[in-house]
């Protein structure tokens, strides 16, 4: 019985793989990038990407052709991450949004007005430091930053992906960037990159 079914599906399977190659494989860089940013560990990211693609292939017949394959892959990855990986990922110290709020409200606009604060003060930070700051964000906030700022998804796509209203995406992005800013500001300060005089 299996034999009959499998032989019947041979051609369909080959065709399916060809379509998968065209639709899904080109997004592997973005998927890997996202996995790496979510897990913070290359080995775990490798496993997560492999699982994602295997599941995607298994369920590719269910993918609605002509819709956003990249978003579909991200959704599979997110589910795999939540179900199988999140519990194993070592979480760095999380940023507390309340602390950020206090910090942020204490920044005087006049202190930095006219400076290109992010570009100037943060440009010397290492990628690892920026990565670490990103990893320190709570998962929901980290996700929207990655999807919006790194992967270039629209609010609507992100809302679909994380299954929340567009307004929530906007709010999370707003807060996520504030949190990142405060974390990077701290790093830059510790390394002597914050130069208030030059920004007067």
């Amino acid at each position: 019985m299996f034999t009959v079914e499998s032989q019947r599906d041979d051609k369909a399977l080959q065709q399916l793989y060809k379509e998968f190659e065209v639709e899904a494989i080109p997004h592997m860089d973005a998927i890997y990038n996202f996995a790496l940013k979510m897990t913070g560990d290359p080995d775990t990211a490798d496993d997560l990407v492999q699982d994602t693609y295997l599941k995607a292939f298994r369920f590719f017949e269910k993918f609605e052709k002509g819709t956003n394959c990249k978003a579909w892959l991200f959704r599979i990855l997110k589910n795999s991450f939540i179900n199988d990986y999140r519990k194993n990922v070592k979480e760095p110290d999380k940023v507390d949004y309340e602390d950020v709020q206090n910090f942020y409200e204490n920044i005087k606009a006049s202190d930095i007005k006219g400076s290109h604060v992010v570009q100037d003060d943060f440009s010397n930070l290492l990628d690892d430091e920026i990565s670490s700051a990103l990893s320190s964000l709570p998962e929901d906030f980290r996700t929207v930053i990655i999807l919006s700022d790194i992967e270039g998804f629209t609010y609507e796509e992100i809302a679909d992906f994380v299954d929340c209203p567009v307004g929530t995406v906007r709010s999370r992005l707003h807060r996520a960037r504030k949190m990142l800013y405060s974390k990077l500001y701290k790093y830059a300060g510790e390394r002597g990159f914050i130069n208030k005089e030059s920004s007067q």
Binding site: M1, F2, E5, S6, Q7, D9, D10, L13, Q14, L16, Y17, F20, E21, I25, M28, D29, I31, Y32, N33, K37, D46, V49, Q50, D51, Y53, L54, K55, F57, R58, F59, N83, D84, I107, A109, S110, I112, K113, H116, V117, V118, Q119, I130, S131, L134, I145, S148, D149, I150, G152, T154, Y155, R170, S171, L173, H174, R177, K178, L180, Y181, L184
Partner: protein, 282 residues
């Protein structure tokens, strides 16, 4: 500062403000209000920083090759999965499954005949993947048994003799061997996965009825590096007597008792199976 305005500034930085008049108002605010100007600078600055530093990340070539190779092999194996080589028995002894055959066997059960499953059972079974997965291994082993390519290492109907064989072969847990009235124990096989030994048993009955039983400790099934099962399935088993999957004439039951998970596959479906095997192991 008004929260809506600040969040609109975020949307502006993301070019998500559709209303041109609103956009104009916001740019006006950015020019005239220091705090809003700072907000805009931070939002756009962080966005640019993230894009500049991380957008160029690429998937390692080795990983990409590994994935495409895995997928290609899977399509090949899916076509041939019913044609295991004669060396398959050896593979079972040392490593219970051939990697890609496994996924396809799950597909065989879960996908091709998904219309015969309950939705929940189907979904839970579809989540099982990977060469270490217990369900994937059990599916492959059952297929080999039915095809006559996998025979018991010990042929005996004596419960104690089978238990001794399993123990002496390195199975560290105490296997439960039911003693059904309708079927007779035929023998045992021991497999190894990630350094641990596992107990498999075969029962038989009239009319070429074959029952294959695979049991492993819960702790092994929860370990991704050993015999893993998806968390959803483990959680399901914790709250239910068993999960039944039917596939034409074949059927399988998955259940757990206090410290072990059991998978039973049969080339027939009889209502006595749960009472004879599942109740006996609870």
């Amino acid at each position: 500062m008004n929260k809506d305005i600040l969040e609109d500034i975020t949307a502006l930085a993301d070019k998500e403000i559709r209303d041109k008049s609103r956009e104009k108002v916001l740019f006006e605010l950015i020019r005239n209000d220091e705090e809003i100007g700072l907000e805009y600078e931070i939002q756009t600055g962080i966005k640019s920083l993230m894009r500049e530093r991380f957008a160029s990340g690429t998937c390692p070539t080795v990983l990409m090759q590994k994935i495409t190779s895995t997928l290609k092999n899977e399509t090949r194996t899916r076509k041939k999965y019913n044609l295991f080589s004669s060396g398959y028995f050896g593979a079972f002894s040392n490593h219970p499954v051939i990697a890609f055959a496994t996924v396809l066997l799950v597909l065989g059960f879960a996908y091709l005949y998904s219309d015969t499953f309950s939705d929940q059972a189907s979904d839970l079974i579809k989540l099982q993947s990977g060469e270490n997965n217990m369900y994937v291994q059990a599916s492959a082993n059952f297929s080999s048994i039915i095809a006559g390519k996998l025979l018991p290492q010990l042929s005996s109907s004596d419960i104690e003799e089978n238990k001794k064989f399993l123990h002496d072969s390195g199975v560290e847990y105490l296997p439960d061997l039911p003693t059904p009235h309708l079927w007779k124990l035929s023998g045992s096989v021991v497999s190894e996965c990630s350094g641990r030994k596992y107990a498999h048993n075969v029962y038989s009955g009239g009319g070429n009825q074959i029952i294959y039983l695979f049991q492993a400790e819960n702790v092994s099934c929860s370990n991704k590096n050993e015999l893993n099962l998806s968390r959803d399935l483990i959680d399901y088993l914790a709250g239910h007597s068993y999960l039944k999957v039917t596939d034409g004439e074949n059927c399988s039951y998955i259940w757990q008792n206090n410290d072990k998970i059991f998978m039973l596959f049969a080339n027939f479906d009889k209502e006595e199976l749960p009472s004879e095997f599942i109740s006996a192991s609870l």
